[in-house]
Symmetry: C2
Subunit: 117 residues, 2 copies
Amino acid sequence: MTSPAVSTRDLPHPARDEIRLEGVLHALSDPMRLRIVRELAAVSGELTCSHFDLPVTKSTTTHHFRVLREAGVVQQIYRGTAKMNGLRRDDLDGLFPGLLDALLDAAARQAVRLGSA
Amino acid sequence: MTSPAVSTRDLPHPARDEIRLEGVLHALSDPMRLRIVRELAAVSGELTCSHFDLPVTKSTTTHHFRVLREAGVVQQIYRGTAKMNGLRRDDLDGLFPGLLDALLDAAARQAVRLGSA
DNA sequence: CGGCTCGTACGATAGGCATCGTAGTACGTA
DNA sequence: TACGTACTACGATGCCTATCGTACGAGCCG
């Protein structure tokens, strides 16, 4: 090896300029993925895949994370056996200022509206 | 007839409380529908279905308008043979403040980024 | 080394959906 | 009434996708 990479495996991410609004909206139109993004935004850091306790199998969870990554919503890197996930907030805010916050706020409002008394 | 309705045909719309964020995002994740919404926002009024010159057949156009209506994004009423379409801006702004503007701004920025020099 | 955990890959399946074409309905007008 | 316009309904088609199960690979630990 010539470079001390974090891991031997690396994952394809779209460049900032390749991120499409339609793709982002489609990625966020799935309840599971919207939930993942909300949790990531709440901690404003990185989380492992296994941190999320979703009501689907691990195969499906992997699929959702890939959709989010390929849409440019999250960034993923391997760290040992774990895979860390983080929101691409800088890129999204740069491309679509205010959009992510508006989406998160909308999701939070809907959660309050539907989930509580 | 007991009521002077605008038309004999009426179209089912979701009530404001029934509008779901995921549905709105899904509706807007299609390029055709995003384009329709952008045009509606630009005129801030009502437009007929036939006003839109989309690169799809009229069947498909009807389908897209129905998706937008059932998601709660647009409101439709018959006026004679024409069907008028308008954004449900008040309802969307009430449920998700700032979201629609952020989405329209994001779409405009992407259009500039992709479409012009 | 042996096993354990985390995550992936692949195939299958079932459902959704964007698109089309054709046939039909509602409304206005000559 | 007869015709034209605006939109709809329905069926077909092909693609995408959310889900699962099983088998596998990569890295840690005893």
